[in-house]
């Protein structure tokens, strides 16, 4: 089992790809921890995870700019398309298509030329486009206040995950001891899965109740 990594490397799989594959469960664990123990909220678990990888692929600054651009465009276009009644899936596709068009136009207008937006980084754009649908529905569902809160905490979690993905010694550890690494994550998650305690934000929320002296 321990020879898996050297074998894969010898077969021509790049070290970077392997490291990111191994770090994916770590990021998922990290997000689970932030949600179960700290009490941060995010849109799903995959959203911040995918967004973190989009940041890795596109670069942090570019990734953020892309995210904001697509979020604004998708919302505006959904708003326009809503006026006509279309069935759900075709309408979604219409939004994606028009957003892509608008995105291309915007990119060329603000001369993205000095950014590395070559074919290598088409995936981040697709990831963010796929996520944009959720950004739109969340605003219909929640009031503006909680929608903004949810979206910004998703971005913050994605940013933290991005930072973890870039820690070189973590990449090295995961590649050197892949089995121990994964089993450790499993154990952490088993504990997280049975954690009954108050979340850190709940301790804050219940601070008055915690201070209350019991009568008996």
């Amino acid at each position: 089992m321990t020879n898996i990594i050297p074998y894969l490397l010898s077969q021509g799989v790049s070290q970077e790809v392997l490291a990111y594959i191994l770090l994916t469960p770590l990021i998922a664990t990290f997000i689970a921890f932030l949600r179960q123990v700290v009490g941060l909220k995010s849109i799903g678990v995959y959203h911040p995870l995918l967004l973190a990888f989009a940041f890795v692929g596109a670069g942090l600054k570019e990734g953020l700019i892309l995210f904001l651009l697509i979020a604004v465009l998708a919302n505006a276009i959904t708003y326009l398309v809503k006026k006509f009644s279309f069935l759900y899936l075709p309408r979604l596709t219409i939004v994606v298509t028009v957003t892509t068009l608008a995105l291309l136009l915007t990119i060329s207008i603000i001369r993205f030329s000095d950014y590395n937006l070559t074919l290598q980084s088409y995936l981040p754009i697709i990831i963010i486009l796929a996520l944009s649908d959720k950004l739109v529905t969340i605003q219909i569902k929640k009031n503006v206040r909680s929608a903004i809160f949810l979206i910004s905490s998703t971005i913050i979690i994605a940013l933290l995950s991005y930072l973890i993905l870039n820690i070189s010694w973590l990449q090295e550890i995961s590649l050197s001891y892949p089995i121990i690494f994964l089993i450790t994550l499993l154990i952490i998650n088993i504990f997280l899965g049975r954690f009954r305690g108050l979340r850190i934000n709940e301790i804050w929320r219940f601070k008055d109740l915690l201070r209350l002296s019991s009568k008996d």
């Binding site: 759900y88 569902k141 108050l198 201070r211 002296s213």
Partner: protein
């Protein structure tokens, strides 16, 4: 700090709620609980009161055929939504114009109502994001008891958290302008804790912070009596029983004419009710762990006995006296210093405590050599007395009680005003369940 550590395990957080209560539910009950149309059918079958449904729009075909001749006031709900999301409350209509007035006072033209229905059908409010149905139902008319505290057009309700037929904690939820008539706390509603025994409100919160008054009108939020309190608790307990979900939040709105009605049930009750009541939930849940309760009526009784009494405690604290009812359990010390329990009647018309001859014999107490002259409606008489030591609700009393022949009378002991100076008498107060069992 030590308090904080002690209290940490008494509070129910989301993790513990999900692990211990939500995840243990069986799936079919849960599927019903998250579907408002099915819930309503189930509650109706059980004979429980629910608001009337005007119309259901199931799909686009229904949507196109629907005649939009809507009543002046109604509630529009997605069939599957959580936490009041997508619930629209309308309480008036403009004259000569297809425009309605939302609770919270903004206007909503028919076009926007249609758009809202369209959003519901698309599943934009449903947690699963699958297409959904839109339900129109009658708006519960505001009860005068809540009028001063409710923003115009809103529907206040009482959230009762019930575990296995025992109501655990309750909270009055008052809509504000920000919450647009909905009573959900996270949408900006006010949560007011309720004393389980009396149904009188205690402490209140707005957005997780303690408040004493309604922000705009300055009406004091404590001391509100919930109308038909016992019915509210019983209906909540019955709804839980029929839902098959062990820990259930039941929202009961009280209609001006029709009384309590189940507005919604919630399989994942929110935890901020603990802040509104300034009391932790997990502790209460632990206190009733393993109890098997047969009926909702019994569960309600236990709840009021076990979790109520905050208002009484407050009164006792202020007055320095204990509250008792007309009938109380008394512990008398017999000749061997054992405590013997007796049910006594409190009689403020009598001066001296009086005790039956048989009972004195049973206790093995000796008559005092003194006698006392009595003046009563029957004339003048001389009675024997006895030195008596007893306690009511933990308060010890030493007195000289008269001995009377009480055979054939229901109570073997009456307590007169001479021995009542440490108490406040509440004629409505009922004997505890243990005591009742003894009489029966």
């Amino acid at each position: 700090m030590i308090n904080a550590i002690k209290n940490y395990n008494k509070i129910l957080g989301l993790n513990a709620r999900n692990l211990d209560y939500v995840l243990k539910k069986d799936r079919t009950s849960l599927a019903i609980a998250d579907n408002k149309i099915k819930v309503k059918r189930m509650l109706k079958m059980a004979g429980l009161p629910v608001p009337e449904t005007y119309a259901v729009i199931k799909n686009e075909k229904d949507f196109k055929k629907f005649d939009w001749d809507l009543p002046k006031s109604f509630v529009l709900k997605p069939n599957q939504s959580l936490g009041g999301e997508g619930v629209l409350i309308v309480y008036g209509k403009k004259k000569n114009s297809p425009t309605w007035i939302k609770a919270g006072q903004s206007l909503i033209p028919l076009e926007d109502i249609k758009h809202h229905v369209y959003n519901i059908l698309e599943g934009n409010f449903s947690p699963s994001e699958k297409s959904d149905k839109a339900v129109f139902e009658s708006r519960v008319r505001l009860h005068p008891a809540f009028k001063p505290y409710t923003f115009k057009g809103g529907v206040p309700d009482v959230r009762v958290v019930v575990y296995e037929k025992i109501p655990i904690m309750a909270e009055l939820r008052l809509p504000t302008k920000a919450s647009e008539g909905r009573s959900n706390l996270h949408l900006g509603g006010i949560g007011v804790g309720i004393d389980m025994k009396s149904g009188i409100t205690t402490t209140a919160i707005l957005r997780n912070r303690l408040v004493e008054t309604v922000p705009d009108t300055r009406h004091v939020l404590s001391g509100i009596q919930i109308p038909q309190w016992k019915d509210v608790l019983r209906i909540a307990a019955l709804a839980q029983k029929h839902s098959g979900i062990s820990l259930l939040g039941v929202d009961i709105a009280i209609d001006r004419d029709k009384g309590p009605m189940i507005f919604e049930i919630n399989s994942r009750p929110g935890i901020s009710i603990q802040i509104a009541n300034q009391s932790p939930l997990r502790e209460r849940l632990k206190r009733i762990e393993g109890l098997k309760i047969k009926s909702a009526r019994r569960g309600t009784k236990i709840a009021r006995e076990l979790f109520g009494g905050e208002i009484e405690e407050e009164l006792e604290e202020i007055s320095g006296r204990k509250i008792i009812g007309i009938f109380e359990e008394v512990e008398i010390i017999d000749k061997n210093n054992n405590k013997i329990q007796v049910i006594a009647k409190i009689d403020t018309g009598a001066y001296r405590t009086s005790i039956g001859k048989d009972l004195i014999e049973k206790l093995g107490l000796k008559e005092s050599k003194k006698t006392i002259n009595f003046v009563s409606s029957l004339g003048r008489e001389t009675r024997h007395v006895v030195d008596l030591e007893f306690s009511i609700v933990g308060q010890k009393i030493k007195t000289l009680a008269s001995i009377a022949d009480r055979s054939g009378l229901k109570f073997n002991m009456i307590i007169g005003r001479r021995d009542l100076k440490y108490f406040l008498l509440d004629p409505k107060r009922k004997l505890s369940i243990d005591g009742l069992d003894k009489i029966e």
